[in-house]
Symmetry: D2
Subunit: 255 residues, 4 copies
């Protein structure tokens, strides 16, 4: 799958990095410059945030999308950001390069059918307790709607273990490779919920055959409006990218 | 909460029964007459079916809603049926008495906000792996939108056990009673996936304090288009209702 | 199954109650008198405690068994207490009426074979993440060893939900009734971990067809050496037993 | 930790490979020669098999241990094999180099205390639904008994996913590294239950920092008495070892 001068699912690993939420233009630009300097290809950052509580911060919405587009022009990074309903999907398709469907919406079949019509690549996160089969069937809703550019994203499943936020199911990567032609990336930030586990799990994902990574990076994790404890600092992200560049060679890919 | 001459959450148990899906006018009317004769107050039956695969039967849609309304007029039973997106929600609000939000859509916050505006009672099923807190927060999206008539429905959670379709979490009933003022009903059909377990689990739910039940009944379970193995025959449903009438007295309620 | 003048699995519900651990003769006798006054038939109380940490209180061991026997003579209650290894199993068989095998040891096949030889009734708790099939197969180790007096005890399974200590799987009761001739009792104390949920779940278990209950009762729950938060006071236990006496009639049994 | 001329937990990856069960001297020797030729350091193979059903094949017992010792002398491979009770533990300590404690016995505290006394290295598998904390506490039973040579082995946890036998929790590797000084190896054979997933998950484990691997290899997987579907052929194992030798360099280790 080609996007501008980037590709996903071929010989080059795709790295999507950036803050959990778009908080301000300055925060976003600083994050973008840091992840670009380290070698990321895509900027992630949520403008529409699906939150467990209706009283939590819900994102900057279209204002956030405008910041993403401005930073895209400033840095050249492609944009991946989440859509949570038909209205936001249309907006995201206008401003961004990849429409993300989050774990909670994996079986929101209406939304899947809507994004199928938008003819933009879709990154489909695995539901919190979705089986591999349900996940592939959810992708099928998008494919059956005529949109063939679907990227799957493993982001951890819900188990009894409480030490990690989720249990990152790395085995999903080779399973998807056996069952489907779709590219699959891994999100070790949500998958573990702990910044100290992001680097080892990112490496594990690549060693298992993942086509890329989605990683939360924040200039000041302790001040993040959401997901601070699982965000890497720019320095840690740079160090991880240096390791991944070597590892990419091991799996016959480049970064 | 009062609906016509019925109430939910007071001294009278609410029983919602009927087929998984509306398949035809004849099937629906036969089901409705059977469940009414046994003492049910609400007819359930899906016109919009959220299915794992895009290639499975998706329901009769508005045609199904028309059948539900016709059977409502024929029998006097109130109607509870599922909405899966804004379009179906508006239609369901027009034709039915209670809008059901299914497990897959429990955190479809956009849909929750839409049904909040429709000013019809909403039955909110627990997500497949939702915590009690996430479930109550999902209800909060509807309450915060100005619709206070929310009924919670426990329908089983996903665990490692494969003998049952889900693990029906009866402890959710007394927990909800402690944490919230909302009425809570239990669906032992989806909760177990096995017709032989429906009656004992229905009784367990009432003994634990549930305000009602949602039960799948089909005139010919072996010919059902979906969920046949967990559907009761009219005869089995009648026998269960007879037992529940006695049990209701034990918990100080009536049926 | 008959034990002295008690029976398990017939028309009479068996109630086993008492403290989590035997702490002192006074604590045990006070507990025993309270549960006997309320109508319990068996006194439970651990002398050998399997603990997650090697540094936690491990029980009074044989000293505790002697207290159980003394209280048995004082009150006439039969004794059920846990064995954790061959040594404790032989001692428990000498002092008590029922040998309990805990959840952690459900697949300790060596211990199962040992208790099979001891010719005393065995109460076999379900493992924390055991399937119904694994549980029945564990019982088969005891039956195949020539000991046919096995009582199964559902005590909650491990799920993602953190609000309760475990998820009490009430559906195991009717499932066991379909698949096996063995009696099955339910432990709502470990199954929920919260004293406020014990009474509703005890009633749910009986309504679903359980042959009895195992309930933690402590004279002063706040001072208990273990499991205080899930223990009933004697007053709460008395109130529950009064309700159960009525409910027993509903299911065609007596208490 | 040093064992003969091998080490575990240092700069050299430890690979333990061989059949699930010792079936015959010929099968064992053929397996041993194959895994040795590919570069494995330890031969695994069960002589005492804990089985869900009492009617399944239970292993060759001491006869199997004798075969393991004979093959040890023939090939120079060190032996790791499971003990399931005090009797087998004493025998295993006599014949083998590492005593394995299986997942079902992780909280068999009596057995843990017994192997603590035997002064042989112990490989402690994670229980099927054990938390990281429970696992470390189980190790503490052995350490507190004066045996400091404990190797942890992640072998997959029980989740709702049925496509794989278990969900291999690779994040346990970096977590253990943060919380403990103990070496940790990974068993991708039991962790996935599918031979096609063994190689990618073995690589993921090493990339995440594991100190070694335990892998099932059988000369003819389709004829294996147990676990055939998850066993590698000698050819597949050889190919995996060739890849791991390169990957070891990436993580600064050797094979």
């Amino acid at each position: 799958m080609r996007l501008g001068d980037q590709e996903i699912g071929g010989g080059k690993l795709a790295v999507m990095a950036g803050p959990c939420a778009v908080e301000s233009y300055e925060q976003l630009l600083e994050s973008a410059r840091a992840v670009k300097a380290a070698g990321a290809h895509f900027l992630r950052g949520g403008a529409f945030k699906p939150r467990t509580s209706p009283y939590s911060f819900q994102g900057l919405e279209e204002e956030g999308l405008k910041m993403l587009r401005a930073v895209r022009e400033e840095t050249g990074l492609l944009i991946v950001t989440e859509a949570i309903d038909p209205h936001s999907a249309a907006l995201v398709a206008e401003y961004a390069d990849i429409i993300q469907i989050g774990a909670r919406n994996m079986q929101n079949f209406f939304l899947l059918r809507e994004v199928a019509k938008l003819k933009k690549p879709v990154l489909l996160k695995r539901g919190m307790s979705a089986t591999i089969e349900e996940w592939l069937m959810a992708a099928e809703y998008i494919l059956a709607g005529g949109n063939y550019d679907v990227i799957l994203c493993e982001r951890g499943i819900r188990t009894y273990e409480t030490y990690t936020r989720n249990t990152l199911d790395i085995s999903a990567v080779p399973l998807i490779k056996q069952l489907s032609h779709l590219p699959v990336v891994v999100d070790p930030s949500h998958g573990t919920g702990k910044c100290a586990l992001v680097a080892p799990m990112a490496k594990a994902a690549i060693a298992a055959g993942a086509d890329g990574l989605m990683i939360e990076v924040h200039p000041k994790p302790s001040e993040a409006l959401s997901d601070g404890p699982q965000s890497l600092t720019p320095q840690n992200f740079q160090a991880l990218m240096d390791e991944l560049r070597v590892l990419a060679g091991f799996v016959g890919k480049s970064l």
